[in-house]
């Protein structure tokens, strides 16, 4: 049986190399994506089904109800942080997500095709270029 030769113990070294490569990829991506998160954003972009639904400033405490054909969500902004207060999706992953405040962070409600992302306004981009 040629296929059973693939079970050979000698191949374990290659398996450990694969494990190491996968862990290295995960670690590198983790730090590469984390470094961008250090800057606080100043507005939140809400995308529904791939289209922009709303933009809200982070410095204004408020909430927004989103009712679409996919379902209902309530997004709340408090003290510069954004979180999903309630949702009628089956898994509630978006509601359990931690509060977000840094640029690039986002909360996704997959069943409702809803993405909430923290962004920075144009001024900060201009500042970055002028530096």
């Amino acid at each position: 049986m040629t296929s059973l030769q693939s079970l050979n113990m000698k191949l374990l070294k290659n398996d450990l190399i694969i494990l190491f490569i996968l862990l290295a990829c995960a670690g590198l991506l983790f730090f590469a994506m984390r470094s961008k998160d250090s800057v606080d954003g100043n507005y939140v972009l809400i995308t529904l089904d791939g289209k922009e639904y709303a933009r809200l400033p982070l410095d204004n405490d408020t909430y927004l109800d989103i009712n679409s054909e996919f379902g209902s969500n309530r997004i709340r902004i408090t003290a510069g942080e954004v979180f999903m207060e309630s949702a009628d999706c089956p898994d509630k992953i978006c509601v359990h997500h931690k509060n977000i405040h840094a640029q690039g962070e986002s909360i996704v409600c997959l069943p409702h095709k809803l993405v909430v992302t923290i962004c920075s306004q144009k001024e900060s981009d201009i500042d970055a270029i002028s530096q």
Binding site: L7, L11, N14, I18, T47, D49
Partner: protein, 173 residues
Amino acid sequence: MQFLNKNPRLQTPAGRVAVSGMLVALALIFSYIESLVPIALPIPGAKLGLANLITLTGLFFLSPMQVLIIIICRILLAGFMFGNFATIIYSLAGGLLSLLVMLIAKKTGLLSVLGISMLGGVFHNIGQLIIACLILKNTAPVIYLPYLILIGAIAGFLMGFISRLICTAFKNF
């Protein structure tokens, strides 16, 4: 499980259908058990992928086409029973991409079942991530990529370990 390749009666179309049906039933039981016992992980939605044991072990004893048919039947039936249309799409994307990667990994002959399983687990999650991005028309879910690789590798390692035990136990059957 070598009796699966050796027994001439199981090499007939009827024999193959019987073995496939049995393995689909077993995979469905695994899916059901997994839906009953939510594993407490910090990342919601993370699963062990018990049903992938069938795919993984099948790679070594069955033809790729038979494994493909078993996966598609298992996903459709599990989707109708415990899930919905969305879960079927995600499961198909993950299951088919991971099968493709595992077949290639096995073909190289460089990896044992452990490495094949880890790659399968990681690419299962990557397949689901691609579908999530397509459905949302947004690249936001890509932030979860590091966690998905890590979880896929760990789940793949565990499943690979179990599959190794099954394969060695059945090798001399």
